[in-house]
Each structure stands twice: as structure tokens, then as C-alpha cells.
């Protein structure tokens, strides 16, 4: 049975959930989790772009002959995106640690000293 468009739907759902979390939650760590969800959705979308029906992984070591392989380029794109996501999350979390030390709270509603 083929999977059809299901991975694309799941990726879109993850992106929408992530944006909802980012817009409507107040704890800083939850904002970071929301951004992480959007990244995961985009990564899933990128990997699914390369899928071809009934194809095997694009590895030449001990590969069976006469088989189709999925596209390897989207996998490289996804890997780069995961690395960038790691650096971004690490930076956001260290900012959250310093904000907690200075303000004493992680509530985004109370950390509004820069206004205007």
C-alpha cells in the first residue's frame, strides 16, 4: 500500500502546531519548543520530497542490483537544516538561561522592559 500524501499532511500539521505554540504560549521554553516543532515539520517536508515509491536507501555499499534509489540531495539539505536547528536552539536556550538570571521569571508577559 502506498503512503500517498500522508507525510506532507503531517509536515504541514507540525508547522501549524509549531506556529500556534510560538504565538500563543507564554513560557519562554515553550516558545523554543514551538520553534523546534516548526523546524521538525520543515525537515520532514524536505526528506519526503526525495521519496520515490518502492525505492531503497541511496547507499552503494552492499546494495542489491537493479533497484531504484530515493534522491539523496534532500537528505543532505535536511542534515544541514538539522545542524542549523541545533545551533539556533542552543543559542535560544542560553538566552533563556540568562533572562532567568536577570529577571527571575520565564513568563514572556512579564519580560517586556523594552517597549516603544
Amino acid at each position: 500500500m502506498s503512503i500517498g500524501n500522508l507525510p506532507f499532511v503531517v509536515a504541514a500539521l507540525l508547522v501549524v502546531l509549531g506556529i500556534y505554540t510560538f504565538l500563543f504560549k507564554r513560557n519562554l521554553i515553550k516558545l523554543v519548543i514551538g520553534i523546534s516543532l516548526v523546524e521538525t515539520g520543515v525537515n520532514l517536508f524536505l526528506v519526503t520530497l526525495g521519496y520515490r515509491t518502492h525505492a531503497i536507501a541511496p547507499i552503494y555499499t552492499f546494495a542489491p542490483k537493479a533497484e531504484r534509489m530515493v534522491l539523496p540531495t534532500p537528505q543532505a539539505l535536511t542534515l544541514t537544516s538539522i545542524v542549523i536547528g541545533l545551533a539556533t536552539t542552543a543559542l535560544l536556550l542560553s538566552f533563556a538561561v540568562f533572562i532567568y538570571r536577570h529577571y527571575g521569571t520565564l513568563d514572556a508577559g512579564k519580560i517586556k522592559e523594552l517597549r516603544g
Binding site: L31, L77, T80, I84, L92, Y103, L114, G116
Partner: protein
């Protein structure tokens, strides 16, 4: 020498990266060694940017090709006879060389300004490491010819810019600003990545020239264009997505605020590259042009009016930087809106918008450096508590006046030259645009007169510094010289530098595509 010219596009990125990775090792030898090393790397990078610009403008802005990791013939012939370009390429043309010149100017003066500005602080080694990563990222965004490579450099600049904003961890406002800015930059990068994924899935290639040759105007292309527009406009700071800009420019250390403006201009360049070269005439350019014009008017107006009510000097200059981005969008938006029929005033509008990028970078750099000196001299950022600096800091007040009048568009400085081109061309499209632009320039002049009166005039107060140290003054004088010289001879510089850049965007799409697909 020829080898240096051939490899200049990639050396512009590799040498700052080398500097960024080697600075912590050299920093162990002491502050003098580190400053010398950073200064040397900045000088070499600026010289390479000048060399690249001279080569590209010598060919009247025609694009040249640099293939990463392969020789010039790099297309992969498939069994069906179709030939697909598969390597990552750098394709500097007139517009890229122009942006490289701006970046080289701002990062060179910023580096030299920060040598004396950081004297009493500690932790400078990692500061310069992040600064050179940011430099490498901005050059990468401007020179690349591959969409995913553009995204990678976009994220590099986002991460290092936010690292620099939140660098002073003992100030609580900078941490809050760093968090907010990083969250918004990440979302903008993810929108851009989603659009790149959509285009890749539809057409099977990541090369800008390859995508430009196979784009049709289907629904997925419009969705990708919308996502790219939102993502890049967020990073450039156009209203209504400008909320991060006053925090970012206001909380960064003074030399870094100017480099952050160069960062926003680089993403604005990315937007122009996508609209003119990637999509070109396959989508309805009149609609797109008017969308850009509406964004530009909002940016110009909101930026200036928010600047009027600020009492913190750096946030005030930050809001005026936001409103100047609107002028660039206005010039290029007018050009885009009429690029089907291509009348003369459209080309003049493009020249004005592009020239304003250079002028704005120089003036805003000068203003941010001057504000850094003012904050260091008075110990406060509040305009209500300053005063009387003109008695003791004559050079700073003169340099500040030059920067402020140039930005507001007063002749004979360079801001007048580029703004006059924009007013002229926008008036021909619709008189309302020119009226809003001129009114906002007048309001901007009022804002700067307010700063000048608050900080420099008035009775003499206790100053913590007698006159600006020579190390901080030389970069400011260099930028002021750029402002004055470009204002006195605008025609010369527009012909030499701006016209090839505008040509590359307006007429250069076929040359851009033909270089990659026709030859390789």
C-alpha cells in the same frame, strides 16, 4: 594576480572564516596580537572586495562564474540528453559587487572602531570571532548563485548577529533583545527554507539560474514567492514585521549596530535578487511592485514617527535606520512595478534605490559610531540627561551633523543625491509617493535636530571624556569622507558603480541564466 582575481569570490568568504577560527588561538598571545590579526584580516578582505568590484565593473557588470570544487565545465549530462548543473556556484554580477563594496566599507570601519571602543571590556576574543563569522556570512549571501547556499549563509548571519546582540551578558536588556531577535530570525529562515523546498520539489534544482529558466507561474511558485517575501522582509525590517529592529540595533554594541544594518541590507539584496532574477517576468510584476511600494511607504512613515517619540538615543537612530530601508524599497519597488514596459524613470528609480543603500550604510554607520562616542562620554543613553557636549567634543558634533544632514537628504551630501533620484522617479509614477517621502525626510531632519540640541547644545555638564580618542575618530572621519565625496560628485559614482548594478537587475536576467546554462 590573475589567480587572486579568479578566486576572489570564494576568498572573500574563506579568509574571514579563517580569521574567525584562528582568533581564539591568537588571542592567547595577548590583546595587541589579536587586534593586529583582526585588522589585517579586515584589510585583506576589504582589498579583495575592491578587487572583485573593479573586475566586475570593468566588464560593465556582467556576471562571472566560480564553481566550488570543480572546473568550469560542471554540468552533469543525463542519459536523456538533459544537462543539469549540479555544483554549488558563486555568480557575482554588478549588484553583488556593489553590495560587497558596502559590506567591506562597513565591516572595515566597524572593526577599527571596535578596537578602541572595547578597550575597557573583557571577552573580546569571542567577540571578534563572531564578528568575522558575520562578515563571512554577509559576503556569502551577496555572492552566491545557489538558493540553498543562500539559506545557509542567511542562518549563519542570523546566529552570529544574535550572538553579538546578546554578547554583553551583564546587561539584562540585551538578553531580552537577543532572545526576541533570534526567535524572529529563526522563523524567517524557516519560511525561506520552506519556499526553497517547494521550489526544489517542483523543479528538481537548487541553482538560481536553473530555476529561473524553468519557472512557470504556477500556484506553487506563487506560494513560494509569498513565503520568500515574508521571510526576507522580516529579516530586512520592513513594517509591519519590524518589531525586532529597534531592540536589535539599540542593544547591540555601537560598532555592531552598523554591521547589523549591513546584514539587513544583504537580506534586502536577497529579496531583489529573487524578485528580479529568479522570478523575473513570470509573475505579475505590477502587483508585486505595488506591494513593495505599499510596504515601503508604511516603513518610511512608521519609522520616522516612532523615532520622534523616543528618548533613548540608540533606539531613535535605530528607528531612523528602519525608515531608510523604506526608501530603498520605494526606489526598487517603483522600478519593479514598471519593469514590463521599462520606461526611463523606472531605471532612475532603481538607480536611486540602489545608490541609497550605499549612502544609508555610510550615514547610519557614522551616526551609530557617534552615538557610541556620546554614550561613552556621558555615561547615559537618555537624551533628557545629556547636554553641553559641543563645548568639549567639537569633532564629534561636526561629524554628527554631517551624518544627520546627509541621512535627512540635505544637499550637498550624498543622501540628497540618492533621495532626489527616488523623489523624481516616484513622482512620475504617482505624486502621492513623492509627497510621503519628502514629508518623512523633513520629519527626519526634525528628529536629528532634536538629538543635536539635546546632546550637544545647552549648558556645559560633566563629561567623562574630553575628546573622542583618535582610534575612534579615524573610522568616523573615513565614513564622513565617503559621505562628502559621494555627495559632491554623485554623477561620477552613479555612472561607475550604481548603473552596472541597476543594469544587472533590470536587464541582466538573460545574461545571468545564459552564463550557467549556455556555457556549462
Amino acid at each position: 594576480m590573475t589567480a587572486l582575481i579568479n578566486h576572489a569570490p570564494v576568498l572573500l568568504i574563506a579568509i574571514p572564516l579563517l580569521g574567525a577560527f584562528a582568533v581564539p588561538l591568537i588571542g592567547k598571545l595577548g590583546r595587541g596580537a589579536r587586534n593586529t590579526f583582526v585588522g589585517l584580516i579586515s584589510l585583506i578582505t576589504a582589498a579583495l572586495a575592491g578587487l572583485l568590484a573593479a573586475t566586475v565593473f570593468g566588464h560593465a557588470g556582467a556576471p562571472s562564474l566560480y564553481v566550488m570544487g570543480g572546473s568550469q565545465g560542471f554540468s552533469l549530462p543525463l542519459p536523456s540528453g538533459l544537462s543539469v548543473p549540479i555544483r554549488i556556484i558563486f555568480e557575482p554580477d554588478g549588484m553583488s559587487a556593489f553590495m560587497a563594496l558596502i559590506t567591506a566599507l562597513i565591516t572595515l570601519t566597524g572593526a577599527f572602531f571596535s578596537f578602541s571602543y572595547w578597550r575597557e571590556r573583557s571577552g573580546g576574543t569571542l567577540f571578534y570571532s563572531l564578528f568575522m563569522l558575520l562578515t563571512a556570512g554577509i559576503f556569502g549571501m551577496e555572492l552566491t548563485g545557489d538558493m540553498f547556499n543562500f539559506f545557509v549563509f542567511l542562518e549563519i548571519t542570523s546566529i552570529s548577529a544574535c550572538g553579538l546582540i546578546g554578547f554583553r551578558v551583564w546587561l539584562k536588556h540585551s538578553q531580552e533583545a537577543g532572545f526576541k531577535v533570534m526567535a524572529l530570525y529563526t522563523l524567517s529562515g524557516l519560511f525561506v527554507l520552506l519556499a526553497i523546498g517547494l521550489l526544489y520539489g517542483q523543479y528538481g534544482g537548487l541553482n538560481i539560474a536553473y530555476l529561473a529558466s524553468t519557472l512557470t507561474g504556477s500556484t506553487i511558485d506563487i506560494v513560494a514567492l509569498g513565503l520568500l517575501l515574508v521571510g526576507l522582509a522580516l529579516k530586512a525590517g520592513a513594517v509591519p514585521l519590524h518589531m525586532w529592529a529597534p531592540d536589535a540595533y539599540g542593544e547591540a554594541p555601537a560598532p555592531m549596530s552598523a554591521v547589523l544594518v549591513a546584514n539587513s541590507q544583504a537580506s534586502l539584496y536577497g529579496l531583489f535578487r529573487i524578485l528580479f532574477t529568479l522570478f523575473g517576468l513570470t509573475v505579475s510584476v505590477a502587483t508585486l511592485g505595488w506591494i513593495l511600494i505599499v510596504l515601503a511607504l508604511l516603513t518610511i512613515f512608521v519609522g520616522v514617527t516612532m523615532a520622534l517619540i523616543q528618548s533613548d538615543i540608540k533606539r531613535l537612530i535605530a528607528y531612523s535606520a528602519v525608515s531608510q530601508i523604506g526608501y530603498m524599497l520605494l526606489g526598487v519597488g517603483v522600478g519593479l512595478a514598471v519593469s514590463v514596459a521599462k520606461p526611463d524613470f523606472g531605471f532612475v528609480a532603481m538607480q536611486g534605490g540602489i545608490f541609497h543603500m550605499l549612502n544609508d550604510a555610510a550615514c547610519i554607520g557614522l551616526l551609530f559610531f557617534a552615538s557610541g562616542v556620546i554614550i561613552r562620554a556621558t555615561g547615559t543613553r537618555d537624551l533628557n540627561q545629556m547636554g553641553g557636549l559641543a563645548h568639549s567634543m567639537k569633532w564629534t558634533s561636526i561629524l554628527f551633523i554631517i551624518g544627520a544632514f546627509a541621512l535627512a537628504g540635505v544637499p550637498p551630501f550624498n543622501g540628497f543625491a540618492s533621495k532626489f533620484l527616488i523623489y523624481e522617479a516616484a513622482f512620475k509614477l504617482s505624486p502621492f509617493l513623492a509627497v510621503v517621502a519628502i514629508l518623512s525626510s523633513i520629519l527626519l531632519l526634525a528628529v536629528f535636530v532634536k538629538i543635536f540640541q539635546a546632546a550637544f547644545l545647552g549648558p556645559r555638564r560633566e563629561a567623562l571624556m574630553s575628546e573622542v580618542p583618535i582610534g575612534m575618530m579615524i573610522p568616523m572621519v573615513a565614513l564622513a569622507l565617503v559621505v562628502i565625496v559621494f555627495g559632491l560628485f554623485p554623477g561620477f559614482f552613479v555612472d561607475k558603480i550604481v548603473t552596472p548594478a541597476a543594469n544587472a537587475l533590470w536587464y541582466g536576467r538573460d545574461a545571468y541564466i545564459g552564463l550557467v546554462l549556455g556555457g556549462g
